[in-house]
Amino acid sequence: MLFFGFLIIGGITPILDKYVPLSQLIMNEILVFAVLAMSLDILMGYTGLASLGHAAYFGVSSYACAIVMTKTSWVTSFAAYTWAQNNGLGIIFLLVIAIVVALFFAAFFGLLAIRATDVYFLMITLSLAMVVWGLAYRWSAVTEGDNGINVPGRPSLFGINLDDDYNFYFFTLAVFLICFSIMYLFVNSPFGKSLVGIRESEERMKMLGYNTWLHKYIAFIVAGIFSGIAGFLWTLFNLFVSPPDLELITSAEALFMVALGGPATLLGPFIGASIIKILQQFVSIYVERWPLILGAIYILTIMISRLYKVEGILGIFSKIRNSSKEMEK
């Protein structure tokens, strides 16, 4: 159902673009960050592990793609890439790179982080992400440090030119829909349900015989992989990667998108991503100090949701639905 909903929104946007300029580009950005937010939601909403370092996999994959595309001196990777490009598969090659890199980092970091709970998990994921950021910032030989990496253009997919923003939008939409479908199947599978069980009560799950550590670890890696896919999309969309992509700010934004839209759903992070990105576009036109406003929005939203005990925007809807059901009784 949701799938068709997304399909419709995705389809309408190009039409909307004719009336409201740039809406296609904004939607493109929303889709990229929606994948990121949804991936975090798998970890945070469904498994109950809030991570402050999710942008690490996002950033690592984006950098990986950018590096493969630009560092011609790294002969082997570039040769492989060129071969792939010549066969129309350039972009798929990048996607594979992104997934592999994200998987590697998530697997490694997950080993270190999963043992912790709650606050410590938060801090550990934060620190690991900061280390990755530090690498991006300082290891100029590889990452160009503060300057970031400019990506010359998007490789084509089977001959379709993706440099055209219009075409690329549909590519992003396609990837988004595929990711969404996979994530949907994942969270509704028995494995996904067991993750929710772990969130509710890990002790109980352990007593039932589940290997909770392994479950959490797999969830961590899966979330990391999708985060990496988002990073791949981001590099191609933005054509530029830089250290802020990996910074605490990006991780916090992802966290906020999930919290704002409604954790433990897949639609919630999408809503959260949309709101944040749209606000970012419009507010920064009028006001210089966007981070300040963003901070105030964080605080406001959290205070409101705690005062009225709702879990994000979708939480408001479910509360209304629940209370009307109660009234019917």
């Binding site: 919290a259 100090r289 901070g295 105030a296």
Partner: protein, 364 residues
């Protein structure tokens, strides 16, 4: 490359850096240990105190007037007292919301009618500060007192109004403190501009002394002494005084503490204020060492977290050991392979995380 002299000098500057880190991390650790709050705005308070010190010096020098700042303080005070007054009848949350809505409406009016946002004149006033040439030790002490007062008031405000309501909800705490970090950081950028400010050290403390032919900077010794004094003061306060006992009681069992008659609210507020004051001390003293510039907080936050992760949350001894370790690693790594110095922090952190996730002396 590995000369003994270089080692000694590196160790010396490591301890100075460790001192700074200790001032920053101890507050973080204290706030967490006592209140179980991960204060992500901690480094932002650090940064803010540097800027406040800068403004203090400017005011003393007369390059800047106190009046716009007074207007700002009065505006915030008015808002706070309005809120308190309203919360006597309406609930606190609702009165806060109403005030915010009024503010947004006023902003919209102001922007459309007069073309400038209210916050520029009332709440976040821009002050053109200049770099300061000569400092003396009394100005430094004055700045310390002034900044600590301001920052602890800010700390009281944040804890009372926002963090108190959130209780133990980790994600909410994280997002709210990050929100404050953004506001403080961007507010600082706005109020004082994006230039980097570096101070000249107070004349009494600048310069160096030589032992056995090796030169050591005096200021680093000063940093170390300050941190040592603070560490000892904290230790005695927490372990040996009645006040400390009250604090520890509130941590261990808030319900029982309330039962005995301890006002846990005031204790929490005070701890948060003390924690941020520690960051303030670090900020003022460290400003002479590191300078003040936007982005300083995000640069130093990972180190503060590394200290707390390695040393353990909630443990003063852990913060001490952690900051020394991190100081040493940072200095030596930067000396030998500067491009990977963040990475050099990673190894010990990873080891600690793999073996004991709560840190060396962590209180779990």
């Amino acid at each position: 490359m590995f000369s003994a002299e270089k080692m000694i000098i590196l160790t010396y500057s490591s301890f100075a850096y460790a001192a700074l880190l200790f001032l920053l991390a101890s507050g973080l650790s204290l706030i967490f240990g006592v209140m179980r709050i991960v204060n992500l705005a901690h480094a932002a308070f650090f940064l803010l105190s540097g800027y406040i010190a800068l403004e203090f010096y400017n005011i003393i020098y007369g390059t800047v007037s106190l009046i716009p700042r007074l207007v700002q303080i009065v505006s915030w005070a008015v808002v706070y007292f309005l809120w308190k007054f309203m919360s006597q009848t309406i609930s606190k949350g609702k009165s806060a919301l109403i005030l915010i809505l009024i503010y947004i409406a006023a902003e919209i009016i102001s922007l459309t009618l007069w073309g400038f946002p209210i916050y520029e004149k009332l709440f976040f006033v821009k002050i053109p500060v200049k770099a300061v040439d000569k400092l003396n030790i009394w100005m430094l002490i004055g700045a310390l007192i002034f900044t600590i007062t301001v920052i602890s008031l800010a700390g009281f405000f944040v804890e009372r109004v926002f963090l108190r309501t959130l209780g133990q909800d980790t994600i909410a705490q994280v997002l709210v403190t990050i929100g404050f970090a953004f506001i403080l950081q961007d507010g600082s950028l706005y109020m004082w501009g994006g230039d980097n400010y570096f101070f000249n050290l107070p004349t009494m403390l600048s310069g160096s002394f030589t032992i056995q032919g090796l030169t050591f900077e005096t200021f680093r010794l000063f940093l170390f002494i300050v941190a040592l004094v603070v560490a000892l003061a904290l230790y005695f306060c927490i372990e040996r005084t009645r006040l400390g006992a009250i604090m520890r009681a509130t941590v261990d069992d808030p319900e029982m503490a309330r039962g005995i008659g301890i006002n846990t609210n005031i204790v929490s507020m005070s701890i948060f204020a003390i924690g941020t004051s520690l960051a303030a001390i670090g900020g003022v003293v460290g400003a002479s060492f590191l300078g003040v510039y936007p982005g300083l907080d995000f640069e130093i936050l990972p180190y503060a977290f590394a200290v707390v992760i390695i040393g353990g949350m909630g443990s003063l001894g852990g913060a001490l050991v952690g900051s020394i370790l991190v100081g040493l690693i940072e200095n030596f790594a930067t000396a030998f392979f500067p491009e990977l110095n963040y990475f050099a922090l990673f190894a010990p952190m990873a080891i600690i995380l793999a073996v004991k996730p709560t840190g060396l002396f962590g209180k779990g």
